[in-house]
């Protein structure tokens, strides 16, 4: 009997030790980090310095500013001043700069919410591969973060106090979501650079100068074209207009207006394309490499500056024709630029060819840089105008001046 009791006691003691041990392990306290020990990075900019070093700038959230401003309600947030601060440090690469930055920072840098990475122009021209490696290897930065190249230095963009958004990076991200320019995530960039054509395009960010009477930092960042990368180095750029052509081919067209002159008429018509389906059909005819771009698009008229009566089917036909011409022009302009000037396949034509003609692609893989400038572009564009808005005839125009076709 005594013995049994002793054993029970022993067992209980053992269980107690066990439970204590388990609580230590199971709660996962080893890696516990409190939110108020974190410095949440909202955007990062990487610039090249002259002495073979880089400068890493982080836009960090100031939680105090947010909670204080929020409780006042209304305009408290933007009026209360910046909700972010910018900290930067030099280093031989990102991790080096980061560790130096961290040593001056009371909180631990946390990348998990960083959705914007901006490479300075100089750095982009020198090559971004080694920096990309850090961003893809580190477990915290998100593959979905957007990547940009800045016109000039990247740091000033982070320092802006964007008046509309809470902080400038947020504004940039919203712009990308609206498909104003190219929308490229870290993952897309990696895919393009690893892929067979090894060329990529990133949106360029510039600063809209502040209006009169505004403070110097009140500018807004905006997307000002496209940077073209061959391998990991930036070799040139496309203007905003050329970027639109690229967006057409890549089927990323969303929120913008096409304004053009319909045929011989006076004045211009603006159309807002709503839907577009774009197909790239590669063809090899008589040893000639041809890319057929098939576009089927619909749009709504949003402004009519001509005297055409757009409720008549005839004039709609005219407008549709002109619309098709306009798209074609834009695409050809963009293609011309990438093919002849930059000689870089950022449109991914190589991939399309390799998908359709794997055998021929294998034979000519090494010669792609020679083939690409020779490719012919054919367009098959079908444009439809579906709606004409709230009025039929040109607004504010006397009946007899309207041209009935």
């Amino acid at each position: 009997m005594e013995k049994g009791k002793g054993r029970l006691f022993m067992k209980n003691i053992l269980l107690l030790i066990l439970i204590c041990g388990v609580t230590l392990i199971v709660s996962g306290c080893w890696d516990r980090v409190e939110v108020n020990d974190l410095a949440i990075v909202t955007a990062a900019a990487i610039d090249k310095k002259d002495d073979n070093q880089i400068e890493l700038s982080l836009q960090v959230f100031i939680p105090k500013a947010l909670s204080g401003g929020g409780s006042e309600g209304g305009g408290g947030m933007s009026g209360g001043g910046a909700v972010t601060m910018v900290a930067s440090h030099k280093g031989s690469n990102i991790s080096d700069a980061l560790s130096k930055l961290q040593s001056e920072f009371p909180r631990r840098v946390f990348w998990g919410h960083c959705k914007v990475f901006i490479f300075g122009e100089k750095l982009a021209k020198a090559g971004i591969q080694e920096h990309l490696d850090f961003l893809l290897r580190h477990p915290q930065p998100r593959e979905r973060a957007y990547v940009y190249v800045s016109e000039g230095k990247a740091k000033p963009i982070l320092e802006l106090l964007a008046p509309l958004e809470r902080y400038s990076a947020e504004g940039l991200r919203e712009l990308s979501d609206l498909h104003i320019g190219m929308k490229v995530t870290l993952q897309d960039l990696d895919e393009k650079l690893i892929g067979i054509v090894q060329a990529a395009a990133l949106p360029i960010v510039d600063i809209h100068p502040p209006g009169k009477g505004q403070e110097k930092l009140q500018g807004e960042p905006y997307i000002a074209g496209t940077a073209v990368f061959k391998k990991d180095k930036m070799i040139g750029n496309l203007t905003e207009k050329e970027t639109r052509g690229i967006l057409w081919i890549r089927n990323e067209i969303e929120a913008y207006t096409v304004t053009f002159k319909p045929g011989a008429e006076k004045g211009e018509i603006s159309i807002n394309p709503i839907k577009a389906s774009v197909k790239l059909v590669p063809e090899i005819r008589n040893k000639k490499w041809i890319m057929v771009v098939k576009i089927d698009t619909e749009g709504t008229i949003i402004q009519n500056g001509t005297n055409l009566n757009l409720s008549s089917p005839k004039s709609i036909k005219v407008v549709e024709k002109a619309f098709e011409k306009e798209i074609e022009k834009r695409i050809e302009l963009a293609f011309q630029q990438t093919q002849q000037e930059l000689k870089t396949d950022i449109l991914g034509f190589g991939e399309e060819f390799s998908r359709k003609y794997p055998d021929k692609w294998k034979k000519n893989k090494g010669r792609w840089n020679e083939i690409f400038p020779e490719i012919e572009l054919e367009t098959e564009i079908k444009a439809h105008i579906r709606r004409q808005g709230y009025i039929t005839k040109p607004g504010g125009m006397p009946e007899k001046e309207v041209k009935e076709q």
Binding site: E143, Q187, D190, E191, K362
Partner: protein, 364 residues
């Protein structure tokens, strides 16, 4: 030794996470290295090894319905050789289980608990599994049943959520370099499929024995389908970048973003992974403990469950200095090693056993 009984369906539910849990995480990128955009074909080829292994295991089981490979190999090739072969199996399962625990812990340390000592993660998993193995096969089967939905549904939800990011044309061109690259890519998942041989340890405890074969085949098919789907998902999302990721499915989960609201899903993958590997390690642990006990002719396997736990953790470290070593083992050793131990040797055993039975019949 083991008095528990399970049903054939329970066996299937145990085996499915046992194969899939580790296969969905690291294997797609290994396959992509060899097969590029044909990686989704690899599991289809690899699954043939699975079907063959299930068939062999079932044949052996029919010849010796009450015993596991450790016991009947003594009848087939004699006591001495049988013991040697038994030790080979023992060693194989201890070592592979150690490897799996290490792989599990490395993933957790790599992506989530960066500063936690790895031995703590391993020890806590081994500790948990020791309890369930101690409980016996019925307990493992019930746990597997309980966790099965937790393992399968998150995968399905994950796939649905990542649908908007699919780039379907990444799949083309199909078989651009011929059939060879996906065949070579099938070698590594083939190693995983050989693990189906472990049903030989479970079959003796099955109530509805006739269904053993059927459910084994169904499981192999389900594993194949899962791997094909996971490989396709990874390919559709990452295209040529698949091969450069260590845990592609993890990156897929991180990539999910629906309306800027449903984001940061990696904890789901972690949950799948932990639940799946928990079952996987339990089954391997159980097989290890059981075969050790059978090899030593013990009266029960339970007393040695805890000592084996220590051995398993020891094997987690032994001669594995880093994650690269695990990957090298998984690519350069395990496919062939597993194939020889779990498919070729059993095949020889079947041939010999059939030959022996016929001979003994003739003499009678």
């Amino acid at each position: 030794m083991e008095k528990g009984k399970i049903s054939a369906l329970q066996m299937a539910i145990m085996m499915y996470p046992t194969i899939v849990a580790t296969a969905i995480l690291g294997v797609p990128s290994i396959t992509a290295k060899y097969a590029q955009n044909d990686l989704w074909l690899a599991p289809i080829f690899a699954s043939f090894i699975g079907y063959v292994t299930v068939y062999i295991a079932y044949k052996l089981h029919k010849l010796y319905p009450k015993q596991s490979v450790i016991q009947f190999s003594e009848y087939i090739i004699g006591r001495f050789l049988g013991k040697i072969l038994g030790f080979l199996y023992l060693f194989f399962y201890i070592q592979v289980t150690g490897e799996i625990i290490r792989e599990y812990a490395e993933f957790i340390v790599d992506s989530f608990l960066v500063r936690t000592p790895i031995s703590v993660i391993m020890a806590s998993m081994a500790f948990l599994c020791a309890f369930i193995v101690y409980g016996g096969i019925e307990v493992i089967a019930r746990a597997a049943q309980l966790f099965f939905p937790l393992f399968v549904f998150p995968i399905l939800i994950l796939i649905i959520l990542v649908l908007p990011d699919f780039e379907f044309k990444n799949i083309f061109p199909i078989l651009a370099d011929g059939i060879w690259p996906p065949m070579k890519g099938a070698i590594v998942p083939g190693g995983w499929f050989t693990e189906f041989f472990m049903i030989i340890f479970l079959l003796p405890f099955i109530k509805d024995r006739k269904k053993g074969m059927k459910y084994g085949m169904i499981t192999a098919f389900a594993v194949m389908m899962t791997l094909v789907v996971v490989n396709l998902v990874v390919l559709f999302v990452f295209g040529p970048a698949t091969a450069s990721k260590v845990y592609p499915l993890m990156n897929v989960a991180r990539y999910i973003s629906i309306a800027e609201f449903f984001e940061h899903f990696e904890s789901v993958v972690m949950a799948i992974w932990i639940v799946g590997t928990f079952i996987k390690i339990s089954v391997f642990y159980y097989v290890t403990a059981l075969s050790t006990a059978q090899w030593l002719n013990l009266s029960d396997y339970r007393p040695i469950v805890w000592p084996i736990g220590i051995l398993l953790v020891v094997f987690c470290f032994w001669s594995i200095p880093n994650t690269l070593e695990i990957e090298r083992f998984n690519i350069g050793v395990f496919p062939l090693y597993g194939f020889i131990v779990q498919t070729i040797i059993p095949l020889l055993l079947v041939v010999m056993a059939v030959f022996r039975k016929r001979k003994s019949k003739e003499t009678v």
